[in-house]
């Protein structure tokens, strides 16, 4: 699989007043800190009906009957619908990944179940009424009779002969199988002096945005408007059009203020389609907002891979190849793109290292759990986790310093084509590690560690050097003829100068906390010679600006920011032609300095953008053939992905008596290219670290063997709090990407992709004197304690999977991920 790339973007001078690079405080914040922002659930329209959804308590069952009579009779209830009522939907919820030549099983997944349920929480009926509390009462009166079917929740068991088949039409629980090879992998392992192998369970987690999903639909004058807590309003409109059989001109989707996404709102959920269908059917506005329990059960989960990874190396430490087999638990139905997620692991399976051969074999599996899909990092955290922990294992096997092993194998020349066709754009992996070590002072820590060990205090340090693929992405690589995503991955922008010189910029991206209104204003301001406070950035509304591809995959800046820069440069170019015409100079002699368009060498002859706008909108004297107006658009489709990188170090302390892990220090140096706004970058890094710390230490979505969700609230699903983490020591290097003119790479997922192996490695380093060499996340006190006990010859160690399978059944490798039952939970 090859991708185009490495083409050098022509870097232009922004010509403005230097707002790019400044740590400006955010334009978004005044409304947010005063409680005046408008999230979806804050809106009510006249006559709004509330929806309550009846959900399956069964993980796998046939629906024998649904009796809605009692619910309909309750006061205030206007309607009750079941799957049969929605028979006029034009299509089920789509899954957009169709790789050429690969069979992918995509069962029909309807907003309300038809005949059968495959996971706990699957919507079966919807109750609509005027009272928010009343519809919940009524939903409890909907009587559904189920015929239970055998349940399978372990993806490896699901692949075995005789396992319950979830979708009979396929005769297997296998969703798909595909391979991404590069180089001679057989030779790589044949020629290796040493091969290390690990089995790593990268357990299921939740996105857990603090704002639950919410959707409000209105049908008025033959048109549909949906306000939704989504990351992808433009994509949502396309899918609503397909499912509802409505043309796009009659659909408007708005993402108002959105309270975090982390991938969990990179989705078009059945409930969004359902409220739209109900609003059209009833001719009234319909609103649904998830409870946290609904959110935990039916907002897509992430990770849930079982990874078998092998690295081969020469005795001197030179790596010869890496092979990973990924078993991806897809859940029982797909949503928009779940099965493609482990492919993102394959993209970065080479890590920062010069592997001459790589191969990733992926098997997707149906289980009676909810859908997995993209959650912050989406496949790359899993890859970093397996690569970095296996590199540590290799270092031990070779009796080599793990950092020396890394440096020996770092990729040093860029652009660099990897064996599987990806082209790393730019990098300096030694530089981030050097700076990280400078901040950490490893020698001092090793002395401290030795002293503490003598007192029975176990501290350790772990490292992660990572590279990630982001800035999704070149449509040629990702699209139908590439990986098979049924869409384009360009981004759009429109920059409009108003008649008096202020600016509105439209972006096709759709932020939910990232700060685009500020960062993009900085980019535009420099290119037009204005201040960011007169640049209003509009996003998240399909009735404004051009069609866009929205926000995920750390793409907003590297693709959307570049689009907005290019649109602004088109405006600048037109402005220069107007100025040249008015000042009787050549356009190439006009320069933009401190907000003035002046003639090179004659700074007294100048115009401002407001002067130019006046000429453009009162077009009495424009250059010959020029159209009026000062309003330009750009659709930017990158030539390559962008490849941020960095080095993270974690120092943790483990209480050997209780198994409790505390992070003592965390030092990281990330490189996402030149900063547009360092304040925003730091914020993404901090949040990204804690997201991964959550997975490493606390968070786990747990299903029991019957497919019941054990971690259905924040009581059971432990998000890290302020008290669980220290302040982090962060720094950056800036290696520009040649892919775009801004040189930027993206940072939204970087720290989440980097962090978890550093945390786990720090715990292993701490516990080395006790003989613990391997342990899978989450490192809850119980699991750590069990690992210590097992290393001391007591007990079998933590359970291998949620279903309690033992290590021996899988031929060794690491201890597995999950609690064995509800009593353990996922929390510390």
């Amino acid at each position: 699989m090859g991708v185009p790339g490495g083409e050098t973007a022509e870097r232009t001078e922004p010509g403005g007043n230097g707002f790019v690079g400044q740590a400006l405080r955010r334009k978004e914040d005044p409304r947010l800190i005063t409680g005046r922002a408008t999230y979806t659930d804050d809106m009510v329209l006249p006559g709004t009906l509330y929806a309550a959804i009846v959900r399956s308590p069964e993980a796998h069952a046939r629906i024998l009957s649904i009796d809605t009579a009692a619910a309909r009779e309750l006061q205030g209830v206007e309607a009750v619908f079941t799957g049969e009522d929605l028979a006029d939907l034009a299509a089920p919820c789509p899954m957009v990944w169709a790789p050429p030549g690969v069979e992918v099983h995509v069962p029909d997944h309807w907003p309300l179940a038809r005949g059968k349920v495959g996971y706990v929480g699957q919507p079966v009926a919807v109750v609509l009424g005027r009272d928010k509390y009343g519809v919940v009462d009524a939903a409890e009166q909907v009587m559904v009779e189920y015929d239970s079917l055998p349940v399978v929740t372990d993806p490896e068991q699901a692949l075995e002969e005789g396992a319950p088949i979830i979708h009979e039409e396929y005769g297997t629980n296998k969703v798909f199988e595909w391979s991404l090879p590069g180089g001679d992998i057989e030779a790589a392992f044949r020629d290796a002096d040493v091969v290390v192998e690990k089995r790593i369970v990268n357990h299921r987690t939740a996105g857990a945005a603090i704002e639950p999903r919410s959707a409000l639909a209105e049908w008025r004058e033959g048109k549909l408007t949906l306000w939704s807590a989504t990351q992808i309003p433009h994509i949502c409109r396309v899918i609503l059009s397909i499912q509802l059989g409505l043309t796009e001109d009659k659909i408007r989707v708005v993402a108002p203020e959105v309270g975090g996404g982390f991938g969990s709102k990179l989705q078009v959920y059945g409930e969004e389609v359902l409220v739209c269908w109900c609003a059209r059917k009833l001719g009234k506005p319909v609103k649904w907002t998830a409870t946290r329990s609904e959110e935990m059960a039916t907002t897509h989960h992430g990770r849930d891979q079982i990874d078998y990874v092998r690295i081969g190396a020469k005795r001197d430490g030179t790596v010869t190849g890496i092979h990973a087999k990924i078993i991806q638990d897809c859940g029982s139905y797909h949503l928009i793109e779940g099965p493609v997620i482990p492919t993102f692991s394959a993209c970065v399976i080479s890590g920062c290292y010069d592997f001459p051969a790589v191969q990733t074999d992926i098997v997707g599996v149906f289980t009676n759990k909810f859908t997995t899909d993209a959650i912050r990092g989406a496949g790359r955290p899993e890859a970093t986790h397996m690569i970095e922990l296996t590199m540590d294992e290799l270092a031990r096997e070779l009796d080599m310093d793990p950092l020396e092993l890394r440096r020996k194998n770092f990729i040093k020349e860029f652009p660099n084509e990897r064996p599987h066709g990806f082209i790393y754009d730019s990098g300096d992996y030694d530089a981030t590690l050097d700076r990280c070590l400078e901040m950490l002072d490893l020698e001092a820590f090793r002395r401290e560690q030795a002293e503490l060990r003598e007192r029975g205090v176990y501290r350790g340090v772990g490292f992660s050097t990572y590279v990630e693929i982001c800035g999704l992405g070149p449509s040629r690589a990702l699209g139908p003829d590439g990986w098979g995503m049924q869409g384009g991955y360009f981004e759009s922008a429109q920059v409009r100068v108003h008649p008096t010189g202020s600016v509105t910029a439209y972006t096709g991206t759709s932020p939910h906390g990232q700060g685009h209104e500020t960062g993009f204003a900085q980019i535009v301001a420099d290119r037009l010679g204005v201040t960011p406070d007169v640049v209003d950035v509009i996003h998240g509304d399909t009735s404004t600006g051009p069609f866009g591809k929205n926000t995920y995959g750390s793409r907003s800046l590297a693709v959307g920011g570049e689009a907005i820069a290019r649109a602004a440069e088109k405006v600048q170019a037109k402005a220069k032609r107007i100025v040249a015409h008015k000042l009787e100079a050549a356009p190439e002699d006009i320069e933009l300095v401190d907000g003035r368009y002046q003639v090179r060498g004659s700074p007294d002859k100048a115009m401002t953008i407001a002067d130019v706008a006046g000429e453009a909108y009162i077009p009495a004297d424009l250059p010959e053939g020029m159209e009026a107006g000062l309003d330009e658009m750009c659709f930017y489709d990158p030539d390559n992905f962008v490849w941020p990188f960095g080095a993270h170090a974690c120092i943790s302390e483990v209480d050997a008596e209780t198994g409790r892990v505390d992070i003592v220090r965390y030092v990281c140096v990330d490189d996402c290219g030149p900063a547009i706004n360092p304040l925003l970058i730091d914020g993404q890094i901090h949040g990204g670290i804690v997201h991964a710390v959550g997975q490493a230490l606390y968070e786990q979505v747990v299903y029991d063997e019957e497919g019941q969700l054990v971690t259905g609230t924040f009581v059971d699903y432990a998000l890290p709090s302020a008290a669980d983490v220290p302040s982090f020591e962060t720094d950056r290097t800036e290696t520009p990407s040649p892919t775009n003119t801004l040189g930027v790479k993206g940072v939204g997922e970087a720290a989440t992709i980097a962090c978890s192996p550093a945390v786990v490695a720090s715990v292993l380093d701490a516990l080395r004197p006790l003989g613990v060499t391997s342990i899978d996340m989450p490192l809850t006190p119980m699991r750590v304690w069990q690992a210590i006990q097992a290393a001391q010859g007591r007990g079998d160690g933590p359970a291998a999977t949620e279903q309690g399978r033992t290590l021996d059944e899988h031929g060794g490798g690491a201890a597995g991920s999950g609690p064995t039952g509800p009593e353990e939970g996922g929390a510390s």
Binding site: D29, T34, G35, D41, V690, L719, S721
Partner: protein, 170 residues
């Protein structure tokens, strides 16, 4: 549904008399009856703290308080502690130190922090982290929230302590 009961409550200094269902949660009363949508619901189980308001001066999680329990009480919400042009020092500090991203947890976080500073005007980092452990944020990693609370505390003490960042304001 049971019969409505009379509720008299002062919210952000304004007196309201309402008839409410006894089971109505305070957070829904504030949001749906009074239109004070700055107070958010994140978890329904009093874990996340997005719904934090002040009830007679103490921070409470309004998703776990019945509206009728506020009868005769004074309630302060995020809308009541400051507004654009007259920001509370905590609001100013969250803005200045990038203590928020998506903003959904922010009102509750600010109300919890205000409660902390009322009881402890000079909290150390650990005290701040412990005091905010009942308010979850998925975006910020808490670091800049802690910084903002420290800055607001310093500001309230008369500009002593950690200086505010000197950077251009948009």
């Amino acid at each position: 549904m049971s019969a409505s009961v009379r509720l008299e409550v002062t919210v952000n200094g304004e007196r309201h008399v309402s008839e409410v269902e006894p089971r109505l949660l305070l957070v829904h009363y504030l949001r749906d009856e009074l239109g004070l949508t700055g107070t958010h619901v994140g978890c329904d189980t009093s874990n996340c703290g997005a719904c934090t308001v002040h009830l007679n001066g103490d921070a409470v999680k309004s998703c776990t308080v019945l509206a009728v329990q506020a009868d005769g009480a004074e309630v302060t919400t995020i809308e009541g502690i400051g507004q654009e042009g007259a920001l509370h020092p905590l609001q100013e500090a969250f803005w200045e130190h990038h203590g928020l991203q998506c903003g959904y947890c922010t009102p509750g976080m600010i109300m919890a922090a205000a409660d902390l500073l009322a009881r402890n005007p000079e909290p150390g980092e650990h005290e701040i982290r412990d005091a905010l452990a009942g308010n979850l944020c998925r975006c910020t990693g808490y670091q800049n929230i802690v910084k903002a609370v420290q800055a607001a505390a310093a500001q309230s003490r008369g500009g002593q302590g950690q200086p505010a960042r000197e950077e251009v304001t948009v």
